[in-house]
């Protein structure tokens, strides 16, 4: 069976010349849950933006055995669901319900299934009561929850989340963990929240300066104090990893 995601030698430079990715190699097997760690400016978001072809650097990306190319773009976008780091980038329809319906509708889901999916996704993030409001008029955390719902509604095979827990209230944060654990999907999660990474992802990769500098079981990676310190990562105050 082919890998869920296979990235080889991915490089990207922003138009102003900044090198964000300097040769990323990453292979994720179906069903794996992988945390992507790394300091600010490491290139995590830039990597995420490549996984469904919204940025195109040089190198090779395969999703479920399918090389990313103009011809496969649409199919790959159907399979890869990305939740962006900033919900303002993600939400653009006049109402929350429209926004959640946008993805599945584009991928050919029709009524009545569409309405069911929207309802289920909004329930999963606890925002069903806000379906008819404008996403623009929500609090930051509410917007992030809607952004998550927009992608859950498309039910992608590979779920890519960029800092999903930022700005979430503690209970919503735990509920999201429950939802993610209950989905039987391949998961790639960028986060600075190490306890959350440890809770959700058996495997972690550490990125710095646009390359993968470590890849292994999350527990081992977080136990390597020298490695972490070299890349501006450390366990937060008061956190005690369970044995």
């Amino acid at each position: 069976m082919s890998a869920s995601l296979d990235v080889r030698g991915l490089e990207y430079h922003y138009p102003d010349g900044t090198t964000a990715l300097a040769g990323i190699d990453l292979r994720v097997e179906p069903g794996e849950r992988v945390a992507v760690l790394g300091p600010n400016g490491a290139g995590k978001t830039t990597l995420v933006l490549h996984l469904n072809g919204v940025l195109t650097g040089t190198g090779r990306i395969e999703v479920a055995g399918m090389p990313l190319s103009p011809g496969t773009l649409r199919e790959i976008r159907r399979r890869v669901g990305v939740v962006f780091q900033d919900p303002d980038d993600q939400l653009f329809m006049p109402t929350v319900a429209d926004d959640v319906a946008f993805g599945p509708a584009n991928f050919g889901v029709t009524e009545p299934e569409l309405a069911e999916r929207v309802q289920a996704a909004l329930d999963a993030v606890g925002m069903a009561g806000h379906a008819d409001r404008s996403p623009m008029h929500l609090s930051e955390g509410q917007r992030r929850r809607v952004a998550l719902a927009t992608v859950l509604a498309s039910d992608p095979e590979l779920l890519v989340l960029d800092e999903p827990s930022a700005n979430l209230e503690p209970v919503a944060r735990r509920e999201l963990a429950d939802v993610l654990l209950s989905l039987d999907r391949t998961l790639l999660m960028v986060t600075h929240d190490l306890p959350y990474a440890l809770q959700l992802c058996p495997r972690a990769v550490l990125i710095d300066n646009g390359v993968v500098v470590a890849d292994g079981p999350t527990r081992d990676l977080l136990a390597d104090a020298d490695l972490l310190a070299a890349h501006r990562i450390e366990l937060p105050w008061g956190f005690v990893p369970h044995p």
């Binding site: 976008r77 109402t95 946008f102 509708a105 404008s134 996403p135």
Partner: protein, 254 residues
Amino acid sequence: MSGGHATVLHRPGDSPVHLLPPQVKLLAAFAAVLGVVATPREAFWAFGIDLLVVLAVWSVAGVPLGWFARRAVIETPFVLLAVVLPFVSGGPRMDVLGLAVSADGLLAGWNILAKGTLGVLIALTLAATTQPRDLVLGLQRLRAPGWFITIATLMLRYVDVIAGELRRMRIARISRGDDPRFLWQLGAAARGAGTLFLRSYERGERVHRAMLARGWAGHMPAGSAAPVGALRWVAGGSPALVIATVWAVAAWPG
């Protein structure tokens, strides 16, 4: 982000005119204006009937008269043109209130005034009763080219982005001691506009990426565009039909 969606001239409501499918309204508006323009300018009575038709549509739409009057000022330059034409046109002169004006010019001025005004009023009726994004949807259903729908969809989306960035920049400034009264002055205005453009573009670029990421293919899913029944076409097209009849009668040779 979205919310207001460039309301501009739209006046929300749920009158039969508001609820008419946008493609019907678009075609009716075009037909009506074409009918007005084709009507011979000497048929003064015809324009009176046309105006009554427009007034009838407003009363059905429940949009008050004053609302249109204020927005019709867009036409001012043409009123100036209409006033100037009788003086600068050639041909036989006639005497009006002691001034020698060109008869042909007077008619031409009247022509612009009457047709231009009716044209503006019809377009305003369309704008007042139709959401901007429904207008684009209507154009899409009328088979406007794909590039047009793509640019127009993004354009309406981005008007909100620009408004949002403008608001963000304002909050950022005043919170750190800037006095907004000095914001739009001279050089600052120009620089502000440049920054606004870039900020909006870069946010727009990110929004565009998010749309692509969720399978956007250049146009909004048109939805289950229920075919418009003949009855609604007739109802929606009736004002245009009356105007076309007026034109036919006015233009009838003899």
